[in-house]
């Protein structure tokens, strides 16, 4: 593993026991400069992971708990009339920070979801004819409960596409859970900043400089093409999806301390990148569409 990444992963791993793979995936997404969606049942550590990432990367962060009565203004900010100056003054909302933790994004109304997702895509917001640039780097780590829970608003396809990756944490192993109960995990207060935003920028640059050779691109295209020609996939992957696969595969290779991408790198992130784009979650036979895709394309030759 890349020595620059090791301390980050180690620290988060101390708090979120036994989830190294997911931690690396999440980091990978941030290194590829993409937004992350964490989806799982309540209580498995979604919020913990996002907090830990924010603190470890030394980003200024705001946490927003999405509720059904939330309005876009609660997120973006609002203009208030200032009596002393006699003018409207814009009060910045929680979105103006380097990392936004959008908790339970599917609890709020589509209107508010849209406001957030627009900001994610454009990295700026427009209010009352004024355009405000969001901070740089700007990440959104959103969490959501599985959709079959009542009182939620499903994110539409186009907005899911804005998230580069969707990571599921899953239940911890018995060992890990036991250690957690034994009090081996460290608390949120004990987390330290490992790198600063400038270092993060360098890491991002390093990730983007990883090379992808022709056979790798061919493999990637074969994967994408498979979803387009096979009627098994109701939602074929878009070119934006193939860009996302390449960027995250490079970031993964960077985390693995390699200067080039291997087919294994693509395979490592494929499920996280494509699953929410292919949409179909519950497959017969227990194999998700992403896994099925991975198993149906030969990376060699």
């Amino acid at each position: 593993m890349n020595p620059l990444i090791v301390p980050i992963v180690e620290q988060i791993n101390k708090q979120l026991l036994g989830k190294e793979y997911q931690i690396k995936q999440a980091l990978c997404c941030l290194l590829a400069n993409g937004h992350l969606l964490i989806e799982d049942a309540p209580g498995v550590g979604k919020t913990t992971l996002s907090h830990a990432l924010a603190i470890s990367l030394g980003l200024s962060y705001n946490r927003i708990q999405f509720t059904s009565d939330m309005l876009p203004a609660d997120l973006l900010g609002v203009s208030i009339f200032d009596n002393t100056s006699g003018q409207f003054v814009f009060h910045r909302g929680p979105i103006f920070s380097q990392l936004v933790l959008a908790d339970e994004i599917n609890r709020t109304s589509p209107k508010t979801q849209s406001a957030l997702l627009e900001a994610m895509a454009e990295r700026q917001i427009s209010i009352d004819g004024e355009t405000y640039k969001l901070s740089d780097p700007f990440f959104v780590i959103a969490t959501q409960n599985p959709l079959d829970h009542s009182g939620t608003y499903e994110l539409p396809d186009s907005q899911l596409d804005r998230f580069m990756m969707r990571v599921s944490l899953g239940f911890p192993s018995i060992d890990a859970e036991k250690r957690m109960l034994q009090g081996h995990s460290i608390g949120l207060d004990n987390l330290k900043q490992v790198i600063n935003p400038e270092q993060l920028k360098e890491l991002q640059l390093g990730a983007s400089q990883v090379t992808a050779s022709d056979p790798i691109l061919n493999y990637l295209l074969a994967l994408v093409q498979e979803t387009r020609v096979n009627s098994k996939y109701p939602h074929p992957l878009s070119p934006r999806a193939s860009q996302a696969i390449l960027a995250t595969a490079k970031a993964w290779a960077f985390i693995e301390n390699r200067k080039y991408v291997l087919p294994e790198d693509i395979q490592a992130i494929l499920s996280a990148v494509v699953e929410h784009r292919l949409r179909h979650t519950n497959q017969q036979g227990g194999q998700s569409l992403g896994e099925h895709l991975l198993h149906s394309v030969n990376p060699l030759g």
Partner: protein, 667 residues
Amino acid sequence: MTNSWLLGKPTIGLMTATYLVSLLALSHEVLWWVAMIGAIAIGWRWCYSVGKVMVFNRYLLSLICVAGLALLAISVTKSGLLITMINLLLLGYGLKFIELKQRRDVFFLVLVGILTVGVIIILYSDVLSAIKILPLIGLNIAILSVTCAPAMTTVQAIKQSAQLIAISVPLTVVLFLLMPKLPPLWDAAKSQQATTGLSDELSPGDIAELSRSDALAFSVTFDPGSQLPLRKQLYWRALVMDVFDGQRWRQSMDQKLWQQLGKQLTPMPPLPKTGGISYQVITQPTQQSWMVGLALPINDESEILRTPDQNIYATSAITATKMYRVTSYPSLMSEVVISDHVRQRNLTLVNGLNQQTKQWAIELRRSYPSDQAFISAVLSYFNQQQFYYTLSPPLLGENSVDDFMFGTRRGFCAHYASAFTVIMRAAGIPSRIVAGYQGGEWNSDVGYLNVYQYDAHAWSEVWLPAKGWVRQDPTASVSPLRIEQGLAQAMATENSFLSGSILSLAKHQNSPWLNNLRLSLANLNYFWDRWLLGYDKKLQYQLLNNMLGGVTTEKVISLTISCFVFIGLWLMWNAGFKIKRLSYNEKIDSLYLELCDELAKVGVRREKHVASQDYAQIIATRLPHAMSEVIELTEFYNNLNYASNLPATKSDYRQMKRLIKSLLNKI
């Protein structure tokens, strides 16, 4: 209708145009009601495409089909099998417009269209038909383009098909020049339709009928060494008729029997050393076997026979434009001897008919005992009495010669020849009628003679002791212009030349530019016949001989095979097939995949999706003793494949081979 591509007006427009051009090209063959049904089908298709009518009733369609077949069955007897089959094709072609439901139907329509083109080629081989064929093929290809690429506009589709045709031109030329000319696998059915031309029988009206046609009969090129005969010597003999029943002249039973049974070779007379006229004849299809030639034609080709009555005869009917060489020896005519039997036949007249003429001849003969003097007297009688040369003579009665000689005195060549021959026979001089062509139009620019149907002529031959068969043309006495300048000049005053055909260019020989146009077209036709249709086995043999320097079976076979190979490669190349040398990267990939197969044999299978790195781990766990080799190999492979963007080299390939070998040795 869900198949919106079929609704496209441009497509239907193209199809309609194709059908109409096909009909036009076959306009002589197509029955009027077949064209009507086609028009109804197309009309329905147009109305349907704009949504004016409902789907065509299936039962009605079947009814039309059955009715059409019944009508065709009736017309078989009248128009012959070939024409009926062509009409069947056109009927199906027209009705297919109703049945355009799927893309397959369009393909079928195009196929029928191409078949129609084939029919046109079988029936006609002249330049004009060839010119009609090109747009037909182009239109058919354009239909395919529009159907398969609906985004294409009609203009684009037509352009594309023109390009395709242009591309195929060199291929066509090579195939035409070099492919062996195979004999036809089956005979084209003989068209029963009357083609204009001479027939086996001659009644006075026949030639007048022929003189209405400006169709080309044949073209002649004289060999450079031969002396060009004078126009008035150009008597192209085709048929000899020596049996007269009072109305019609026909060939003798001997000749018919010779044609049907024997066809044994007429003995070749000893050829004189000089005086031969050599020439090449390109004859248009006549559907008959007789061939034309100047007096006493000699030909030594096996498929051309010499008849007992000094003509030439093809072993099979001339159904396509044919080229043959002839040498004529006018002097040989005098050496022909006739048997008593033949002599008797050429003196026979029907008893009780034309008594007045017979009497007149016998009386005249008394004053001119010499044969030559008698002939001259008869000819001058024709010349001096009030005989008129006309193409529209009055009808004659049972005693046709009597009526003509002493009644109407108006007629054309057949009348005069018939009367003259009867007079000769009555006076005891053996004589017969020869049908053929006289004169022709000499084209000095290119150097060929075109003989048209309106040059058809009939004259007499009398047999004189020591002189043999001597040609006598009473028409020349009546209307010298006809012989010296042709029918057009002879009929100038009567204005009856080609009176039936208003559009005929031959009619306007006095208008300079129309005449030039006509002559240019004639030249074009001549070259077409001479070089395209005349390109036969013999010419091909000569060409091959020149190309290969001596024709042997091996050479021809290898040339043919190389032609095929060349064409095949060319087609493959055009279809986007290119031979690609494997790069070393690809070779290394296949080496790796072979290794995977080898390892699968020892139980370490690679699942389809497993890439090299993961596979290396699987191998390492299953075969721990080979771990270092596996890691080395995988690292090398990954480096080559994924790390560097440089193409692999030969040494990389060798290294890979070496690594695989050492790994395989280990396990």
